[in-house]
């Protein structure tokens, strides 16, 4: 499936041709806000060798990203009308999910900076303000703590707000409200008030965005009692998780990734949700369980190709639910393969991987043949320089090495 990169859009930049390691390519796209892609619009496709190709339609055979889930027959150049479902990009899937929920329930509203007239800094809310009005898609002033708290107050009194952090990192300013009020009010009120809020936004390491725009807040939020955290990674699960989060009575934090917004996939036409507490089996296997989420899924899948060529059979699970962990899917996999590798983008210290190691060790220690390995980002503020930034996150080559080590 071709990934469409926009000339000035945030790059998806996930994989190149299988035999090359990921980090060696230079990407042309710059990490600014993407404008939306509509059918027929002209846009640039950045090829894996860095050349920019301005006519993508004749270039479908150039696979710039392999989508490890859902549609397998992505190499067919046949027209899309013959297959069921419809193709769209991940940010469009999020938008579709949001729009459908807003149509379905009038109480669903969106609040955030530039979500209304601007359409969202990553275009997830594009067109919604025109359709639903300025009150349902509320452009807030730059006051994260207060508008998150406002969302919580609105949720307590009957609405179902979706609060967008323009970048997940900005939600650090809203930590007070998210932790004390979002997570705890249901409990401290003795169950009297529910807080069906969804807090979402893009996070993760992007393309030289600098330290503060490259934060992974899942590790900071994971200790807050009373919230659920999910991370989407494909258009299919993005839409599904968005809808499930909106329908949930619990406060849910939905982590998106800056580099994944332009992933393309064919998703079903009918209404569907993805269960908030379940993990996703990406690739069944026998030799080793690789647990991952969000963008690292693609690094893992790329490494998986190499591993398969080398004769390994990794089982890849996208845990999706960062809090709580789906210990059933994970446990079954551990019981089958007896070896676990966790690949995450969080920092090493106190990250999701650290919690996952603890949970697996507690529950499935007897089934392990080797200590759990965890590949995380370095405990380093993400540098601006591209070469340094590459090294702070986990690359497919490291994953391959780790699996080889684990399977000795």
């Amino acid at each position: 499936m071709a990934a469409i990169f926009q000339g000035v859009g945030a790059a998806a930049a996930l994989s190149s041709s299988p035999s090359n390691s990921f980090g060696s390519k230079k990407f042309v796209s710059s990490p600014c806000r993407p404008f939306s892609v509509r059918k027929g619009a002209s846009f640039a496709v950045v090829r894996s060798d860095g050349r920019v190709n301005l006519n993508p339609k004749g270039r479908r055979a150039q696979q710039l990203i392999s989508n490890a889930v859902a549609t397998k027959s992505d190499s067919a150049a046949a027209s899309s009308s013959s297959k069921p479902g419809h193709e769209l990009l991940l940010f469009e899937a999020l938008q579709e999910g949001l729009e459908e929920e807003m149509e379905r329930d009038l109480r669903v509203c969106v609040m955030g900076e530039d979500v209304g007239h601007y359409g969202g800094s990553y275009k997830v809310t594009k067109g919604l303000a025109k359709k639903f009005g300025d009150l349902r898609v509320l452009d807030t002033p730059i006051a994260e703590n207060s508008f998150s708290g406002m969302g919580i107050g609105a949720a307590m009194t009957g609405l179902r707000p979706v609060v967008e952090g323009m970048n997940m990192g900005f939600l650090l300013l809203a930590f007070n409200q998210i932790s004390n009020n979002g997570g705890m009010l249901h409990y401290t009120s003795g169950g009297q008030f529910t807080i069906p809020i969804v807090i979402r936004g893009p996070g993760g390491v992007g393309r030289q965005l600098g330290a503060e725009h490259s934060q992974r807040l899942e590790s900071y939020f994971q200790s807050i009692p009373g919230i659920q955290m999910v991370a989407c990674s494909t258009p299919y699960n993005a839409k599904g998780l968005m809808k499930a989060a909106i329908r949930s009575e619990n406060p849910v934090i939905l982590f998106e990734h800056v580099l994944l917004y332009n992933l393309k996939e064919r998703i079903p036409d009918e209404d569907y949700i993805c269960n908030l507490e379940e993990a996703e089996m990406v690739r069944p296997g026998e030799h080793v369980t690789i647990l991952t989420y969000s963008r690292m899924r693609y690094h893992v899948m790329q490494a998986a190709k190499t591993l398969v060529n080398k004769g390994y059979d990794p089982e890849v699970i996208d845990i999706r639910s960062l809090k709580p962990f789906d210990l059933y899917t994970i446990g079954n996999s551990v019981k089958k393969t007896h070896r676990v590798l966790i690949v995450e983008e969080c920092m090493r210290t106190g990250g999701i991987g650290a919690s996952l190691i603890a949970a697996i060790t507690e529950n499935f220690n007897d089934y392990l043949d080797a200590p759990i390995m965890c590949l995380s980002s370095q405990d380093v503020p993400t540098p601006y320089a591209g070469t340094l930034e590459e090294v702070t996150v986990v690359q497919p080559a490291q994953i391959v090495t780790a699996v080889e080590q684990l399977c000795q």
Binding site: P141, G153, G158, N181, G190, I195, P196, P324, D326, L327
Partner: protein, 495 residues
Amino acid sequence: MSLSHHHLNTNILPTLSATIPTPFPLVFSAPIVSFLSFIFYSPLSLPSSPPIFSPFPSSLPTRKKMATAFSPSKFAAQPFPLNTTSQNNPLTIPTTASPFLGSTRKLIRLSSSSNLNIRRRSGTVVAVSDVVKENKSKSTLNLLITKEEGLELYEDMVLGRAFEDMCAQMYYRGKMFGFVHLYNGQEAISTGFIKLLKQQDSVVSTYRDHVHALSKGVSARAVMSELFGKTTGCCRGQGGSMHMFSREHNVLGGFAFIGEGIPVATGAAFTSKYKREVLKEADCDHVTLAFFGDGTCNNGQFFECLNMAALWKLPIVFVVENNLWAIGMSHLRATSDPQIYKKGPAFGMPGVHVNGMDVLKVREVAKEAIGRARRGEGPTLVECETYRFRGHSLADPDELRDPAEKAHYAARDPITALKKYLIENSLASEADLKAIDKKIDEVVEEAVEFADESPVPPRSQLLENVFADPKGFGIGPDGQYRCEDPKFTEGTAQV
């Protein structure tokens, strides 16, 4: 509390007058103009400035002597002459005996505001004592309240006072623990505002929330049980003193961190507007009141919410209970411009200052502010000058406040003042009021008994309200949701 020292700086006056947003009088309907006219701090109508006292001794050499002679607490305790006879003479020093006034200082600020008050709105917002003087010769038609209302107000304030006194007793007897913040002295604000609300209106408070909950209608039993940590408490014992919630009475908390509740209140007001405009519930005019203190007014959440509320004209009233002290931090030591009500116009909403020890005055201001919100005209910032008779919490030794300041405010006890008003205006007799006192004593005693006899929460309650949808605890290794684990209901499941 004494705010005279800042505003009359002649250097400031011209700029301030320039900053008053001129469109306002045009926006509001005529009956409200008079309300707004006194509340907008209008320097042009004030007399020329006397010597200004600055609390910062380093700024002007001549002030040094004053600065050292008066500690901040004493200075802060200069009384507003709102309750005194000097109201009609804005330029004179209040003649009530006060040890705090230096002879060279003239207190003008708030006396003149109340004077403007009187000039522009004859008779509606007056001091209790003034009404007392007037009504010796006038008919009862000029009274602010009826007998029923008066007794209701009295009862509510007495309930608040008696309840808080009982809390103190119970705390020292070891029936309740932790941080307990009592409201003694501030009852006029809670009663004055909340008794004007409907059930569907919301109240958001801080950790000093017992009396707000009581005024809104939460039963004394439920609050006392909550304080005892019993399962019959309004939050099942899970919230405690600082987290009083009631869905039925729309008390949205109860927040331990200051300023935390203000965005929540803004959200509740947003819901009200949303219901009217998006969900088309045309008669939804629910108002939200956010109560918070002087310390909170230096917090970012306060300013951010003032901005949003004014921007979207949310039906909310921001009520500042300015009791001059944030634990041991005097408001004057913490705030560059201590006149909090002035911060309202900076954001585009009216800012009102009112004597918070006078329930009738508070009630009149509250009527206007709540009426504004109900009509969709937007938020109001009301600063109530008040005082807490006890320390910040029951653990506070309260050593920093000057006993003279405390005595001064004790003399302005709102309950005593209302009692005097009711009796002198023949709205109620001593016997009526004593009967209410007795009734409230019984209510509070009964609440304690009820709380004593209530069960403590069982272990099984531990995990029950963490999530509204307990599937949020996730799927266990056995494939079942953890909440389906029988141990979950026992409270012993591993989650």
